[in-house]
């Protein structure tokens, strides 16, 4: 039965994620407007919700310009890699009990593999544009993403030690007693920061820092190719939120401290928890200024990497101690 479900789920998950990313652009702009004491997009339709549709129409009908000085094949490939690798990673997300496309004993590693392939999209976009701003943006993105991937993986290993499995379903099920945010709060912090850097969202959006690099690696992109790159960014944000929930906040499990929580279906709990983290992403964008690039890199190598190694060491030692 589970197998049947999973094949049917592929299409709704893919389409749903893309549409969700589109609506999220509007919702984020509204939220930013609210937090920054301005209106935001409120003209098209009720509360401006049709702005998402208008944006889509505009992006579809815009001229799709290929720079004649660039590397044509890479230029076309890059946005597909950005969005495609992120969409691929959705196959391992368990939305509810028995509501997932696949559950593998390497699910966590599969996510890491897909997020490391996403680097190529950004890197090739920068390389193929043959433009100095794009090139600098691409180089920054490559260095930033490779750096943060190192301890993104390491920060997850604490959870893997607790659960004893790389399978996300097993990880959620082993959180029945206690969510992993309590023993793994350091791991959560590191994973969240790394996720922020991986999706190059605003405090860490140095690859596309518009004040210094025009638009960074996607300077030359327009029309649907630009839309795909944007979609990739939002897909990464939703994916990171969903993974934070799955790994550290009990996934679809209802919080036990709320009476009557178990009457709400698990999928709804998963959605609610994910929404909280998506809003946290948006709030960080509204609230925190961008660090300098060398600050970002030294934060990674000098603070977060040793911290994640220490976290791994302590978690491993503690679980060995408790076993014997």
């Amino acid at each position: 039965m589970i197998v049947d479900w999973s094949y049917i789920l592929i299409l709704p998950v893919a389409v749903g994620a893309l549409v969700f990313a589109l609506v999220l652009v509007w919702w984020e702009r509204r939220l930013l407007g609210w937090w920054q004491d301005r209106l935001g997009p409120n003209r098209v339709g009720p509360f401006g919700v049709l702005q998402a549709l208008a944006d889509a129409v505009k992006l579809f009908t815009k001229e799709d310009w290929l720079p004649p000085f660039g590397d044509r094949a890479f230029f076309i490939m890059a946005p597909a890699i950005v969005a495609g690798s992120m969409l691929m990673a959705y196959v391992i997300i368990p939305f509810g009990p028995d509501l997932y496309i696949t559950d593998s004993n390497i699910a966590v590693l599969f996510f890491l593999a897909m997020s490391s392939l996403a680097v190529y999209g950004v890197l090739l976009a920068g390389l193929s544009s043959n433009n100095k701003y794009a090139m600098l943006g691409g180089l920054r993105a490559a260095a930033q993403m490779v750096t943060y991937e190192v301890f993104m993986g390491l920060s997850l290993m604490g959870v893997v030690i607790h659960a004893g499995s790389f399978s996300l379903v097993a990880i959620v099920e082993s959180q029945q007693g206690m969510w992993y945010i309590f023993p793994q709060c350091v791991g959560f912090l590191i994973f969240f920061l790394a996720g922020l850097a991986e999706s190059h969202r605003l405090p860490f959006d140095l690859p596309e820092a518009e004040h210094e690099l025009t638009a960074g690696f996607h300077t030359e992109y327009s029309g649907m190719k630009f839309a795909l790159i944007m979609a990739g960014e939002y897909l990464a944000m939703v994916l990171t939120s969903a993974l934070v929930v799955t790994l550290f906040f009990g996934g679809w499990l209802a919080p036990t401290f709320l009476p009557g929580a178990e009457y709400i279906p698990p999928v709804v709990w998963f959605g609610l928890k994910t929404a909280v983290f998506i809003h946290l992403f948006v709030l960080l964008r509204a609230a925190i200024p961008r660090p300098r690039y060398d600050q970002l890199m030294s934060l990674g190598w000098k603070i977060l990497l040793p911290l994640s190694l220490l976290n791994l060491l302590v978690t491993g030692a503690a679980s060995l101690w408790l076993e014997h």
Binding site: D71, F74, S104, N105, I106, L109, F110, L112, A113, S116, L117, V119, Y120, L123, L124, G126, L127, M135, G138, L139, A142, A143, M145, V146, E149, V150, G153, F166
Partner: protein, 172 residues
């Protein structure tokens, strides 16, 4: 089914590896290298080693080739270097490697035709088994590799010390 998938992945791996060697544009060659690594990951997966498949992508495709590509971007190789590559790879260059590879090919054909053919069926080795093997019978190798990596790390740290830059400023 698995056999057909295996042959498709193997063919992709071979074709992309040939293209890695023959491309003149370094960036194109590296992207073919990524494709080759991905197809090898698929082969690992089919042979029942999902852990090795995932690590192949995470480490080789995701980190090492990215660094290669990073360097290629920094050097900003243009049309001139592609031209130079063309001069380097004259047809005469291929004779030596072709003979050597031909010998290996004959040897492999001999093994396949005369000896017992290898099988693509294997037991599935999960992450836990890999870990148990690495930290059980192969512990010494793991520790040796760790020492080597530590030495590399210390070397990199030594090269990147801050006062090297400071001293350069002191020079007249």
């Amino acid at each position: 089914m698995a056999l057909a998938l295996f042959y498709v992945a193997a063919a992709v791996a071979l074709a992309s590896t040939v293209l890695v060697i023959t491309r003149r544009n370094a960036a194109h060659a590296l992207i073919y290298l990524v494709v080759s690594l991905l197809s090898i990951a698929v082969i690992f997966f089919l042979l029942g080693a999902p852990f090795a498949a995932a690590l192949e992508i995470v480490i080789y495709a995701g980190a090492i080739v990215v660094l290669f590509l990073f360097v290629v971007m920094m050097l900003n190789l243009g049309r001139r270097s592609a031209e130079r590559e063309r001069l380097w790879l004259r047809p005469g260059m291929w004779i030596g490697p072709a003979i050597l590879v031909g010998v290996l090919l004959l040897e492999m054909l001999y093994v396949i035709v005369l000896d017992a053919p290898g099988t693509t069926r294997g037991t599935v080795v999960g992450p836990k088994e890999v870990g148990t093997a690495l930290f059980g019978p192969y512990l010494l190798a793991v520790e040796l590799a760790a020492m080597l990596l530590l030495a590399a790390l210390i070397g990199a740290y030594h090269l990147g010390r801050r006062y090297l830059g400071d001293r350069r400023e002191d020079l007249p």
